[in-house]
Symmetry: C2
Subunit: 552 residues, 2 copies
């Protein structure tokens, strides 16, 4: 197997642990804190988690290790979308487990949660693990999106664990996967299986965070990768001086990624989905907002710019959500056949015009034809519009072009507008983890094993004080139930970890808000460049602006 | 102005010069080599360049500087598309010029060649230059695509030079710009202006190279940036195991970028335009070639992969070029009005069916409808098809999907095929130059001034032995006419620098050819990661695989 020079060099990197975990396994003791309660709906959550609710938060500290000396066989899975650093979680887990007792074993269940059901696994060895240290990707065991949520599945998992003598399962995943981890932990406790469950907070989207979890892993590396590219494009725009670049970045539910990239690169425009929803903005208002920047810059001789668009933004535009709902209704069941049988787009358009309310038709009319057709022609197996396929970067540039054409006619705009489009997502999910993510993930995994060793169940591995150097980080654990509330999902009340959206009164957004009017008109671009793993600490150890502002 | 941590750190970087330029200006002497002749059409080129043809190649060496002590006022322009390192060419030029005589001045003409015509410039100072050291982009003075090629333009340029007392002009550009530099040099010589012209070889496309110029600057950084992203996507593909990624990379005329990225990352598929042309491949053959890889991998349980598509490939497919020519003919002049007046796509399709030859209609039929429509609906101001807008990454994935659907029907393919698409170009043209490009460009600029100082005209700044460490690089100059031949352009015989396409019997392609069958079936991905500016020399000072293989 051929390895890149960087991959070989990264094998030599030693991730930094929090000081309190650096004294050797025998010197790690537990300090128990207060009993916890869930962030909301306490009684309901407690009723659903009678065995695992309300446990104490804990912190590790230097001191005599008092954990029970038993052989541990731990299983680990990677769940959901890739995030840089997943390999290091497993490496940290493995190293702590083997340092505690060389007889301990780590099983890696393959291709996500389904590996636990299918009993498909490998047993890690030094040689195998060493190939994945400080590398990106989830290819060490693969990932998958199967959800572990039914009692039938849990029973199978319990059987698999029993068969191999597994004492604990570590689930590396996002908010949904960790919600499921809590439910599995409760199941294991209720059925006296003796198997523990520990979660680790993963997602490049950055929407798994709260007062305990300062950030999810992968967010740092992914946003640095996107910011590298956005910065490069900004420099190109500022050199060629002839294009507006519309750049969509991943993040369907929350706009943390877009916001962090904006804080790193200072583009002319960055939409924030949460703000669009809060202000109930229309497509036309958003287009006018962007067109204002184009016009002002053009008046200053700058017919170029950069706009960042969060992937999920159209779903946050109220009138657009209504339109989608109406289209889904209009084409439900047999009505789709009638529609599909219409011979030409003109006939179909007439059908649509008849079927939509006037309000929705007004929205539909201003969409570019490619988007109009996509809404009606590309539907998912249930016949619904596939919102995730909408090229919102192209949608907004087309709407802006229409606005500018109108302004030109009215004599208020006299410049040029030529747009290019980009989408960054897959480019950043498997990058070599930044030093921050490499350190954070290794610590999460190492710490997860200490939680196992001390007998905790239904806990999330927690490393905090992350805006400080690693030596000052704090290692501990938090009952997952503490982060849960009840939400309506698919018509049912479900206990779930609350998704963290961008807070419009939070410091990162406030900073952005205070500066964006200047950025919209001036060329205040910052060029972050590629992630550096070596060199000055300022360059290679810094974490996100979001975290720095939140902890200011 | 806010600067990123990396930008601040890069200001501190000292580019490495070839050993022979490290002894101080007073210790640089010239060694003249042999008279030169053009690579072809010698007599014609000589007749066109009577004053600048046949000059000697020269090399700098350590020794007493014997150049004339006169005040130099040098003008510099950036021409054409951005390439990482352009700022360093100017910094090297500036440093050599000021070290030779603090009275010397460097004028930067703004926004490309038009700056020389419009007399729009800045005079560089230490303070201004220092902001751009080791940074990407061409924003130091901007770039542009105006061509300097007519005697009227040259006369204006001569006037501008005379007005400011300019003694030499440095043109940083690609093959066309350097061709124009040679013509300008000849004009200056013929008119006894006393103004010299020196070119510097720029282009991320890598198609300005020959026995003298080992590579153009920017190619190293741009391909490293694309390879970073391709490697990240490969790792994602290998983790999620469910997508085929079709990745288009810049390079319309030549496939050096695609080939270098393939050598760096070992994808399953990489098309090479020059091979497609040489083998006269049809769209269907190319689609079958890719589908074979999809099928074989699927049979081994791998329903994922990565294919690199060079931007210009469709123009190299003979049947597609014929189709484009027929469409341009079909819609020439008033015929376009008739076509545009047709109410529906179905009517238009009938019109097309009647107008194209059977062979071209067969090609047209297999295209996805979006591409069909784009060919007829998006035309340039002259009414021609805009080949550069064709999303060839989507074209090929659609053709492959058709092939696989057919194979499924025939029972030979039983897997899944789900495609995602990417295009990388603007992402790499303005990255912070790699150490290689930072060093190479600084040396090119420094060296360009030494050529000026020694009175050369119509020369290209030449730094060679580039596959070795910078200390072993060789600095010198080469008459641009040496690289020229006569080519037919727009119905006229023109003296031009021969564009370097990928040579199918060259070592880089041979290496690729020897390995690609394995890569097509196995997962032999290499993950280069982000460009590193610090760290082990193996990681941060290596140049391209192309150069390494060519110099093997």
């Amino acid at each position: 197997m051929k390895l890149s020079p960087l991959q070989k060099a990264r094998y030599e990197y030693t991730p930094k642990l929090p000081q309190m975990l650096r004294n050797g396994i025998s010197e790690i003791s537990v300090s128990e804190g207060k009993d916890t309660k869930s962030v909301a709906d306490c009684e309901k959550i407690q009723a659903l988690f009678p065995n695992t609710y309300g446990k104490k938060e804990i912190t590790f500290q230097k001191g005599q290790n008092t954990s029970e000396a038993k052989k541990q066989i731990v299983g680990v899975i990677l769940s959901g979308g890739q995030a840089p650093g997943g390999h290091n979680v497993i490496c940290g887990l493995y190293d702590a487990l083997k340092s505690t007792n060389p007889e301990n074993e780590l099983f890696g269940f393959k291709n996500g949660p389904s590996g636990l059901i299918d009993d498909d696994f490998i047993v890690f060895t030094d040689e195998y693990i060493d190939q994945y240290r400080n590398t990106g990707g989830f290819d060490i065991i693969g990932s998958g999106r199967t959800k572990l949520e039914t009692n039938e599945q849990f029973a199978i998992v319990a059987e698999v664990c029993k068969k191999h003598g597994i004492t604990a399962v570590v689930i590396i995943g996002g908010d949904d996967s960790n919600t499921n981890a809590a439910v599995l932990a409760e199941y294991f406790a209720a059925h006296n299986t003796g198997v523990q469950v520990i979660g680790c907070p993963k997602t490049i989207d950055g929407d798994l965070k709260n007062e305990d979890i300062e950030c999810s892993f992968g967010f740092d590396t992914a946003t640095k990768t996107y910011s590298e590219l956005i910065g490069n494009i900004q420099r190109d725009a500022n050199s060629a001086k002839k294009y507006w670049h519309f750049i969509k970045v991943m993040g369907r539910s929350a706009s943390h990624v877009a916001l962090e990239c904006a804080l790193e690169t200072q583009p002319n425009i960055c939409l924030i989905s949460e703000e669009v929803a809060a202000k109930k903005m229309s497509l036309s208002q958003i287009a006018d907002y962007i067109a204002d920047s184009v016009e002002k810059r053009s008046n200053n001789g700058m017919n170029f710019g950069v706009a960042i668009i969060p992937e999920g933004v159209v779903e946050f535009v109220p009138e657009f959500s209504v339109l989608i709902a109406e289209i889904n209704e209009l084409l439900a069941g047999k009505k789709a056949d009638e529609f599909n049988a219409l011979p030409s787009w003109a006939d179909k358009y007439t059908f649509i015009e008849k079927g939509l309310t006037k309000e929705s038709m007004d929205v539909f009319k201003i969409l570019p034809q490619t988007i109009q057709q996509q809404l009606f022609l590309d539907r998912d197996p249930h016949g619904n519009v596939q919102v995730s396929l909408i090229e919102s970067e192209k949608l907004f540039s087309a709407l802006v072009a229409d606005k500018l054409a109108e302004r030109k006619k009215n004599g208020t705009f006299n410049g040029k507008f030529s747009a290019l489009h980009h989408f960054f997502g897959y480019e950043g999910r498997c990058a070599f983890p930044s030093n921050f993510d490499a350190d954070y993930c290794y610590s999460l995994g190492y710490n997860a094993f200490m939680l196992i060793q001390y007998g905790y169940n239904g806990y999330l591995s927690k490393i905090s004080n992350l805006s400080k150097p690693a030596t000052e980080w704090v290692a501990g654990g938090m009952p997952i139930t503490k982060m849960m509330n009840i939400e309506r999902r698919h018509g049912e009340d479900k206990p779930v970890i609350k998704k963290a959206l961008v807070e419009l009164d939070g410091k990162p957004f406030k900073f952005f808000e205070a500066n964006r009017d200047t950025w919209a008109v001036e060329t205040a671009y910052v060029y972050p460049g590629a992630i550096q793993y070596y060199g000055p600490s300022d360059v290679c150890d810094l974490t996100t602006r979001t975290l720095a502002l939140e902890k200011e």
